[in-house]
Structure formats: C-alpha cells, structure tokens
C-alpha cells in the first residue's frame, strides 16, 4: 500500500537527542522549531533515541497522523542506521527512497562540542540541506531479475572440476567446457604432487570419474567459447566444438578456470641449444615415464624467466617446491646422483614446505643462492656435459659445477586463450597477464562484473591445494545468486534521455561495469541491472543526456544552494 508520491511533498522531520550526544551540544528544541519553518515541512518533533523501538514507532505514528510522504531523520551518520529507517518507512507505506538523513552527530555535535551555538546553527543548516533534497526526491524501484540456476565452468582442470562438483552437490546444473579432448588440465602432465607425493594421475582420475558420473554436470570437451552475451542471471554463451558444432547455453553464472601456460625459456641457459637443458615440466614427464638416465649430477636453476626487472616481474610461487619435489624424487630413484638447486629466494612458505626443505637438505640436496644481478651461466663442455658457473652469494665466490642435466624452473604465464576470453566476457587482465579480480584483498575470486568468477591458476600461479580452495570459493560465490533465484539490483542507477543523446560514446568507455552500450540506433542504453550508480557517466555526458536517479543535478544543486542559505522555490 504505497501513498501517492506524485503529490506535493509532505515532509516530517525527526530530530534526535541521542541521549546527550546531540542534545548536550545542539539546542534540539530550537532546531525542531526551525525545521517547522522550512518549505514543505508539515511536521517536526524531537526524540531521545530515534533508532530505538520507541523512536521508530514515533516515525510510523507521524507518517500516519500527518499523512507524511517524505521523512527526514536528523541524527547520526546514515552509514549505520539509514537502512533501519528506510525499512521503517517501507513498513508504513512510504517508499524507502523518500527518506533522507541529516547527520547532526558525527558531523556536528561531536565535532563542535565546545561551540554549542555554532553547532546549533550548523545543525539547522544540515537539516535545511536534507529538506532541500527531500523536496525533490522521487520513489525508486529496485529492479528484480530472475537467475537461471545453472553455471558455465570454462576449463576442465582440477579447479574447474572442483568448482563444478561442489555446485552440483549444492543442487545446481553445471556445464563444463574444456578445449582439450580430455579433462584434467595441467595435472595430466604432472607426476607426483607435493608435499604429500601422491600420484597426480590417480588423484585426477578420481575427480574425473566423480565429474563424469554426476548427473548435474554436463561435460563438453574439444569445445571453446565463441560469444557471450547478457548479464548476471541471464548469460547466453555460444560454444563450439572442434568439428564446428555450435550450441547456445543459457546460464546464470560463469566461472573462469582456464589455467595457465608454462613459459618456455627459449634462448636462455642453452635451452633447446643443448640437448640436456630441459624445463621442470619436461623433467616431470621423464619421471612419469620412468625415463631417467644415470645422471651424475643434476643442476636446477630457479627463477628462469620470472622475477625479472621488466616483463615477467612476478614470482611464480610453485617453482621452488616443484624443484624440491623433483630433486627428492631423483634422489630416491638415483641415490648416487648429485642434485644442486640454484635459487634466489627459496619460496618454502606455509605450514609444511619449510619441513620439506629441511628433509630435502637431509637427503643431501645441495642449495646455492645466487643473486639477481649475477645469474648463472650454462655452457656446453666435452662429452656432452654442461658447465654451470655461478656466483655463490653466501660463499662470496664463483663456483663451477659440471653436470649432465640442467633443469630450468620457469614460471606459469597467461594462458594462450586468456586475452580472447577476457574480451568475450568483458573482464580485465592484470599487468602480469593473469585475470584481474574485483578487489585484490576482499573480492579475490569475483570479477567486477557481477556473476562472473575466477579460480585456479587463471587467477595467479598456485598449487593444487590453493586451486582447490579457490575453486570451492567460487562455488560459494556463484551459488549465492543462483540460490536466491531472484536478485534485487541497485535502484540508484543512470537514465539516458534518448532525445538528447548524440551517440558520442563517452559514457560507454567511462563505465567501469560495462553497463552502457550503444543500441542499433547508436543511442546509449543503460542495462540497469549492471549499473552501480557511481554517476560518472551522468557527470561526463557532453549532451547532459544522462541523469542519476536519487542524485539528480537538480537535487545536488538544491542541496548546495541550501547549504548557502538558499532554498529554491
């Protein structure tokens, strides 16, 4: 039962004492009297604690008795109690956006405790500003959208499959699309996983079996994305198989789990030049296939193509432990083989990896620290051996080691399809080439675009346990909109006046959420459910064709002039 909001505003002002927090400094009764003199204010009263149940009842009473259709509460900061007061208005039939707050505590009584007269005058001004806006605000609706309760997981590696399994167990339908002919991702190429040394293939096969037997999960291999349209709850993805078969998937959420590629150190340390310089991944394959030679000495070099001054500046997190693991495996199989690890800083972080490092040392694996500015060199020697020259940072002298195998630890890098996918989904890549999350600290697996999430090495280099944690994380994030089935989106959104829009496209580029597009006529169109109401488009539009609901130019200007003592007619 909503009151007719197109009528003349009838504003009620409720001024709070907040015990003596406001009342002890500001002359509340005087302020109430002043409020009554303001245009369109038909009622004003004071309360001891407006946020208390008594205070809220008085608001409801006032609305009913005086036929109020706008409410102003002058009390504390809106950042805490605005939702409470808005809810109170709604319960009494006043649209929650017909409510305005005047902050006369944090911004007034508490800051000017020793100047009660000035604080009182300021309080009057603050209320006048609130009333100026209250006279112009209109009821707003929070658009609701239905959410398709199914998810699209792009990438069938351990991260994608873990996310899919969790979502399936939670009762949602999941489509996994995987570009390779089989599921598994990077784990297919690994031998043992640290620090437990469990077999990668065994673990992988168990997960694949679970995925394939889950009736909520549909898997499509040799499949890639061709196009993605829509927004949260209503995505439409066109996927295509290698043989050209295309399909349209209607999903509510999308999860990016496309993994990463591994850097090939061409031109570095004799890679591809000398036959016995290989990468950790290639060593992994040799270990998996049982193709070890009776090497006398194996030398591993860390940070090859990572932690650089320019380019791949990042640390790839997993290479130190991978080297340690493979070194330990070599020692197990070839106890007489000498293994050296040349490192810059050993990334043996967390609860278990330091112990693993100690164990590796106990097994006789030798560690040599080198400096970034004095990297090792690898040259070919006689009878197929390699000579590695390195400045031993802790001994402070050049050391020469002769070995039959050099293993280069290289970083994970951006997946070859990441750029294309980022364009399809309109989600950003970071400067390191990996997908860029909504907020580095508090929204690490969300994208800024609602309804799309990221996990695993597509986000950044990480190991299996970390990928699994993130994958379970996105399973929760994606489940939220799908579980509530209907989403309420922001009411304070941008509106385009099509008659004024000249199609310059400025707003389209400025919107951080991709919520504005030019339609077939070249006119800007706001997808309201994607708009967050920041107002940048409205403030920038060269034709003044965009206005911001609940923060119109008229309203803000009225507040500014009210601050100076002027109330527009």
């Amino acid at each position: 039962m909503e009151r007719a909001e197109e009528e003349t505003p009838r504003i009620g002002v409720f001024v709070c004492h907040c015990g003596i927090n406001i009342g002890g400094v500001v002359n509340v009764p005087k302020v109430v009297e002043y409020a009554k003199t303001l245009p369109n204010v038909v009622y004003a009263e004071d309360n001891l604690y407006t946020c208390s149940s008594e205070g809220l009842s008085k608001i409801k009473e006032g609305i009913g008795k005086y036929n109020l259709n706008r409410v102003v509460v002058a009390s504390c900061t809106p950042r805490t109690h605005e939702p409470l007061f808005r809810a109170t208005c709604e319960e009494t039939g006043v649209n929650k956006y017909l409510f305005e707050m005047a902050n006369i505590r944090e911004h007034c009584s508490w800051a000017h405790m020793h100047e009660p007269e000035k604080a009182t005058e300021k309080a009057k001004d603050i209320i006048r500003i609130a009333v100026a806006k209250a006279r112009l605000i209109q009821p707003q609706k929070e658009p609701e959208i239905d959410v398709t309760p199914s998810a699209l997981v792009i990438g069938g590696g351990v991260a994608g499959m873990t996310a899919a399994l969790s979502l399936a167990e939670q009762g949602f339908r999941v489509h996994i699309i995987e570009k390779e002919p089989e599921l598994g991702g990077t784990l297919r190429h690994l031998h043992k996983l640290y620090p437990t040394m469990q077999d990668a293939s065994d673990a992988l096969n168990q997960i694949i079996k679970a995925v394939e037997s889950n009736k909520n999960i549909e898997v499509s291999t040799s499949t890639t994305i061709k196009e993605v349209k829509g927004f949260i709850g209503n995505f439409e993805a066109t996927v295509q198989k290698v043989n050209g078969e295309a399909a349209n998937l209607r999903v509510g959420t999308i999860i990016v789990a496309t993994g990463a590629d591994i850097f090939e150190p061409i031109g570095m340390y004799g890679y591809k030049e000398y036959g016995n310089v290989i990468t950790q991944l290639q060593l992994e394959q040799l270990l998996k296939d049982g193709q070890l030679k009776k090497w006398e000495r194996v030398i591993m070099i860390q940070c090859v193509g990572s932690r650089e001054e320019k380019g791949r500046t990042y640390c790839s997190r997993i290479c130190c432990m991978t080297a340690l693991k493979n070194a330990v495996l070599i020692k197990e199989l070839l106890p007489d083989t000498d293994v050296y690890i040349l490192f810059r800083d050993l990334q043996t972080y967390g609860g278990r990896y330091e112990d693993y490092h100690r164990m590796a040392q106990d097994r006789g694996i030798k560690f040599i620290k080198y400096l970034q500015e004095k990297p090792p060199t690898v040259v070919s020697a006689e009878n197929g051996k390699l000579t590695v020259n390195v400045y031993h940072a802790l001994l402070g002298e050049q050391v020469t080691i002769s070995g039959d195998l050099v293993v280069l630890s290289t970083p994970l890098t951006q997946h070859e399809n990441a750029k294309e996918l980022s364009q399809f989904l309109k989600v950003p890549l970071g400067s390191d080439g990996f997908f860029f999350e909504a907020h580095v600290k508090l929204r690490p697996i969300d994208f800024a675009t609602d309804g799309i999430f990221v996990c695993g090495t597509a986000h950044s280099p990480k190991d299996t346990a970390e990928s699994v944690s993130q994958a379970l994380g996105v399973a929760s994030r994606a489940a939220i909109p799908m579980a509530v089935k209907r989403l309420r989106t922001e009411a304070i959104t941008a509106m385009v006046n099509e008659n004024l829009c000249s199609g310059c496209g400025t707003c389209v580029k400025l919107c951080p959420y991709g919520a504005i597009e030019k339609d077939a006529k070249g006119v800007a169109r706001v997808t309201e459910v994607m708009c967050k109401g920041c107002g940048v488009c409205g403030a920038s539009c060269p034709e003044k064709a965009i206005s911001m609901r609940h923060f119109t130019d008229e309203q803000v200007t009225a507040q500014a002039l009210a601050a100076l003592g002027r109330l527009t007619a």
Binding site: H107, K122, I129, G535, A539, F551, T557, L561
Partner: protein
C-alpha cells in the same frame, strides 16, 4: 568581527564521508564552517554544480574522494580529478581565485586528516577573504565570468574532451605510442580559452547587441581574436548580426533550441 568562510563540501559515501564520520567519532574538533553534501562517488560531481555553488556565494568548495586505487567504483575519483583540473583552469579565467576550489583524498580511517583539511581550508579562506560573489552585492564582472564558465562547463566540447581524456591516453598505450598527455593538455587549454571567451561573448550579446570593438574592449582581448570567435559562433548558430552602423556590425546572441 572576522568573517566566517562558508565552505560547501562534496564527499563520497565510501571513503571521505566515513572519514568525516570518524573525525566526529574520535571527538576531533575542527571549525564549524563546512556543510557536507553526500554523493555516492566524487566522480558524480558535474563541474556545473561546482560553478553553481561558487556563483551562489560559497567562499570555498572542497571535493573529497577516495585515494587513487581505493575508489569503490574503480576509478570515479580519477574522473573527478580530471574534471577539477579542467575546472581550475576555467575558474582562473573568471577572476575568481582558483584556490577557492580544492580536491582532496580522504580515506575512511583518516578522521584526523579530514579535520586538518577543514581547519586548513578555513584559515586559508579567512586570509583570502570573503568570496566576491558572496556579499549582498556580488562583483558583477566576476559573476559574469563565473556564469560564462558555467555555460562553458555545460558545453559539449569541453565535456567530451574531459570525458574522453582517459580513453585517448590509454588507447595510445596499446599501440606503444608515447602518451600524448602534454598534447592533450595543450588542446584542453586552447579549448578552455576558446569556449570560455565564446560563452562570455554570448552572455554579453544576450544583454545587448555589441560590436567587435566593444567586445574587444570589455574582454580586454585583441579584436582579431574576438572576430575569430564571432565567426565560429555564427557558424554554430549562436550569434547573428542584429544591425549594421556604418561599416560596423553589431552582433546579438541567438536563442538556442
């Protein structure tokens, strides 16, 4: 009695408004001269509103947003910065002191900083004196300038330049070209100059038809420059010849649809 500056503050909901809250929560005292208006983002603030506020007699206007990198809406604060940079250049031409407009970054935990800024701005404005537009009888010359500035800030050309600034600079990066920020700056300065003068001319010729000579006198501008603007404005349909006296045409502003 020393004059008390009237400061209007536009604060963003997520950072600076919360910072102002914290100043209160921490009971930090500061001068009671500021009146705060809450926006969701500092990027919401249309330069026209700032000019309206200054024209309305505010002694100072302070805009506060989140520190770069912290904006709740990704980069709204950086957009605010671009607008205010343009605005300060514009205000400088009106005769109003550009120091009356400030842009500051205040985070939600910087209650102390908020209070310091208000203290600082208040004392700065006390020294500067009351705004020439604030008294009972505002300075007509400066007011005319600020109104022309308002019209300029509402005009297509400057708004599109400011709005596209980021895009122009960043797209250049994609092709590896040197960032032409200096070039863009120069273009902006020229555009501000030109459009401001055109709006001054428009408002003046709205009051009464004027000749190039008269306009040149009032604007303290070379007649050749004035004529160039008149030519552009005629093409844009903003002015037309009202009458000719001897060999001297008098121009009048045309109503724009």
């Amino acid at each position: 009695m020393t004059f008390e500056p009237r400061i209007v503050g536009f604060l963003c909901n997520w950072c600076s408004y919360a910072g102002a809250d914290l100043a209160g929560v921490s009971r930090i005292s500061y001068p009671p001269n500021i009146r705060i208006i809450r926006l969701m983002c500092s990027g919401r603030l249309d330069p026209v509103i700032i000019l309206e506020t200054l024209a309305g007699g505010a002694d100072g206007v302070i805009v506060m947003g989140c520190h770069p990198g912290d904006c709740h809406y990704v980069e709204g604060n950086l957009q605010a910065e671009r607008k205010i940079r343009m605005l300060k250049k514009l205000i400088a031409r009106t005769g109003l002191e550009p120091e009356r407009l400030r842009l500051e970054w205040v985070s939600a935990s910087e209650g102390g900083r908020f209070a310091e800024l208000v203290k600082d701005f208040t004392s700065q404005l006390k020294k500067l004196g009351q705004s020439p537009l604030a008294e009972e009888k505002p300075d007509t010359k400066i007011l005319a300038g600020v109104l022309a500035a308002k019209a300029t800030a509402a005009d297509f050309r400057l708004r599109v330049l400011v709005g596209k600034e980021k895009g122009l600079i960043e797209d250049a990066n994609v092709y590896g070209e040197k960032v032409p920020e200096e070039e863009l700056d120069k273009t902006m300065e020229e555009a501000i100059d030109a459009e401001y003068l055109r709006n001054r001319i428009y408002l003046m010729t709205k009051d009464e038809p004027l000749s190039v000579k008269e306009l040149s006198k009032r604007l303290d501008l070379d007649p050749k420059a004035v004529l160039r603007h008149i030519v552009v404005m005629r093409r844009r349909g903003l002015v037309a010849i009202d009458r000719v006296e001897g060999t001297t045409p008098f121009y009048t502003a045309l109503k724009v649809e």
